[in-house]
């Protein structure tokens, strides 16, 4: 041990960069396998865009689990609700969607996304108070309650909007691709990447630069200690839960636009994907969640291109491989 002088900066914990290098290594490894650089670039861009969307949806779930040990099996419901609420704004304003002007389009999309986030967030408040609070600390009942919540939410959506698939066309200015030489990158994917990065940076800034973030990170690591210091962690948790739900709603809108359709069953498929991401990343870790989302998207895109048959089970294989390497996910932040 070396002695520290009074003015020396505190020793920083070693940064664990192996997980960060992993997606980069995967991407580089794929260049020779895919062969053509232009398809590689297209696929990489697609992976990043898909990964960002998944990250937006999964980030809330992982924080909620890390902070309060609550696993919300109904998280997918917020995604579907977000997508459906967006149709409320987008359907009556279809003319502005079809207008060939980026700003007109965004002027419609932004309020739609905000409304979705607001509704999902309020729904999160209700779910937390009604479904999770009464069974707080009992894992089995939490899983059952939130699964019940998922059923009710899905059925209510069907009752209100009908069981059919609702089309959700992309705005005109976001259709098509940017062409750089022989590389084509869909415009909407660029937007998705930008939003995803913005959300990631915002979450990182809040978590690492504010007192609120300090409390959340401390709560993830050791809840009792934060409570012992006199902070009302339940209120903190409620805030995180609502934010997570709102982000899931935003992710739902983005995903619906990506697929250009809305259906309540989208929550089922995405729930599985999100769980895999959260497990891979390590429960409670935002950085791990980010890397996990990109890895899952990469496996889906590269895998779908190289061996389409394998794409079905590729996510499971990825999960198994990661858990063999690090049994508690890429970053194990909780002490549980």
């Amino acid at each position: 041990m070396t002695d520290l002088a009074a003015n020396d900066p505190l020793p920083k914990p070693k940064r664990d960069i192996a997980p960060i290098l992993l997606p980069i290594a995967v991407a580089l490894l794929m260049i020779p396998l895919i062969g053509s650089t232009s398809s590689w670039l297209t696929l990489t861009a697609a992976s990043l865009a898909m990964g960002m969307m998944i990250f937006i949806m999964a980030s809330g779930l992982t924080l909620v689990f890390g902070l309060m040990d609550v696993l919300n099996f109904g998280h997918g419901a917020f995604i579907a609700v977000g997508a459906y609420v967006a149709t409320l704004v987008l359907a009556p304003l279809a003319t502005s969607i079809q207008a060939d002007s980026l700003w007109t389009n965004l002027a419609v999309l932004a309020p739609a996304a905000l409304l979705s986030m607001a509704v999902s967030g309020v729904l999160g408040l209700i779910v937390e108070r009604v479904l999770i609070l009464p069974v707080y600390g009992q894992h089995l009942k939490q899983i059952l309650m939130t699964t019940g919540g998922l059923i009710v939410a899905e059925q209510t959506l069907y009752a209100l909007w009908g069981p059919q698939i609702i089309p959700m066309p992309l705005p005109t200015s976001l259709r098509g691709s940017f062409i750089l030489g022989d590389v084509a990158i869909a415009k909407y994917r660029v937007l998705a990447m930008l939003i995803g990065l913005a959300v990631f940076i915002a979450i990182q800034l809040v978590l690492n630069r504010t007192k609120l973030g300090l409390l959340i990170r401390a709560g993830v690591e050791n809840r009792e200690m934060v409570e012992a210091l006199g902070y009302r962690i339940r209120r903190l948790f409620l805030g995180v839960f609502m934010t997570g739900s709102a982000l899931a709603g935003l992710g739902g809108v983005m995903w619906a636009l990506y697929r250009e359709q809305v259906h309540a069953s989208m929550s089922d498929d995405l729930t599985v994907l999100i769980f895999i991401v959260v497990i891979i990343g390590g429960l409670g870790s935002i950085g791990g969640c980010f890397i996990g989302a990109i890895l899952v998207a990469m496996v889906a895109n590269y895998g779908g291109f190289l061996v389409p048959k394998l794409a079905l089970v590729s996510n499971i294989l990825l999960m198994v491989a990661i858990l063999m390497w690090r049994p508690r996910g890429l970053y194990a932040v909780t002490s549980r």
């Binding site: 089995l140 059952l144 019940g148 059923i151 009752a159 599985v272 769980f275 895999i276 999960m319 198994v320």
Partner: protein
């Protein structure tokens, strides 16, 4: 008492209800004529066994698995593919059983070894992921499974509706191959439920409950918890595959909707929670209530929905539409987890008070 493994229902009303259900099921071919009643009765038998096997996991070990329909589907598909490929003979039935059951057990072993070491919550998520991958796989391997269409097949001669075993003029009832199949389903389901009752009341079952109550302590007492949990997982998978075999035999069909879909998993969860976790008897009650509701409540809702739309009420017609019956069951599910977590059986056993040993912690 021997046959119930020394674990009687322990409540007069519960005993009465169970006896009524079992007698009604046994007498369905003679009491309630018509194909629908027989279908409902067969489905209740199959699901009672399936839910009881899930109870071994959820109620007795406290681990939530979302892969239970996968094992059910393996059983269904094994017998369907065998009978479809080898023709309607008993060798095909035997092949389906010999392939299906070990396959389910092996897969359960693999999942168990991989994920039961970690927390219950990991197990739930991993089983969900594996089950959904399996579902996609079954849909994609259409040369084997028939894809979305599934596989229809013929039963061996003896079990066909055309085979008359006892003609009508003997007792006034015709006993044909269909009714024989029903009794096969009934008897095998009953045997499986009794076997599960035996398992949960054995020393092994006690260890499972100890693990449920306090895994750390069970481990400290020297029990190899991973071994016990994996073993329970394999047993449950075996019974689920058995129920799947019965289901396929009854329907003469195996397809994604009837034997693999995620909605069956939710149905199982609803049945077990409504019936009562950790009791095995709850499975019978839950399956009966749920399937009766599924088949008869829906028509009632149809009437109500129509009345509401004629009265010009907003929203209600949509909410009461027969296809939305899961909404109401979902609400019932939440309410029962919240207000009576021990389910119908727990309620009846403890006379309405929750003082008794809750089975759902």
């Amino acid at each position: 008492m021997m046959i119930l493994s020394g674990d009687p229902p322990r409540s007069r009303i519960l005993t009465l209800v169970l006896v009524v259900i079992i007698l009604a099921l046994a007498a369905t071919p003679f009491l309630f004529p018509g194909a629908k009643a027989l279908n409902v009765a067969a489905k209740i038998c199959v699901f009672a066994a399936l839910v009881a096997s899930y109870d071994l996991l959820l109620g007795y070990t406290g681990s939530v698995s979302f892969a239970h329909t996968m094992f059910y589907g393996i059983g269904s598909y094994a017998i369907a593919i065998a009978l479809y490929g080898m023709g309607p003979n008993w060798a095909a039935v035997a092949t389906g059983i010999i392939v299906g059951l070990p396959l389910a057990a092996l897969l359960a072993l693999a999942i168990g070894l991989f994920s039961l070491r970690v927390a219950a919550i990991f197990f739930a998520m991993i089983t969900l992921a594996v089950a959904s991958a399996f579902q996609v796989l079954a849909l994609q391997l259409s040369w084997l499974t028939g894809g979305e269409d599934g596989r229809s097949f013929q039963l061996p001669e003896l079990l066909r509706p055309g085979t008359v075993l006892i003609s009508k003029n003997l007792f006034g009832f015709e006993v044909n191959g269909r009714i024989l199949t029903f009794y096969l389903v009934f008897a095998v389901s009953a045997l499986m439920i009794l076997a599960l009752l035996r398992v949960v009341n054995s020393p092994f079952g006690r260890v499972l409950q100890a693990i449920r109550e306090n895994r750390f302590r069970a481990e400290a007492l020297g029990f190899r918890t991973v071994f016990h949990l994996t073993y329970a997982n394999c047993l449950a998978a075996l019974v689920a595959a058995g129920a799947g075999i019965l289901n396929a035999l009854w329907l003469r069909y195996a397809g994604p909707d009837t034997s693999l879909s995620f909605s069956i998993m939710l149905d199982i969860l609803l049945m077990i929670v409504i019936g009562g976790m950790g009791t095995i008897y709850g499975a019978i009650i839950g399956a009966t209530i749920f399937i009766l509701a599924q088949n008869y409540l829906q028509s009632l809702m149809g009437v109500a929905s129509k009345a509401a739309s004629e009265a010009g009420l907003p929203l209600l017609p949509g909410l009461l539409h027969p296809d939305r019956w899961l909404l109401w069951l979902g609400l019932l599910f939440i309410a029962s987890v919240y207000f009576f977590p021990t389910g119908v059986v727990g309620r009846l056993r403890h006379g309405g008070s929750d003082k008794g040993r809750g089975a759902s912690h």
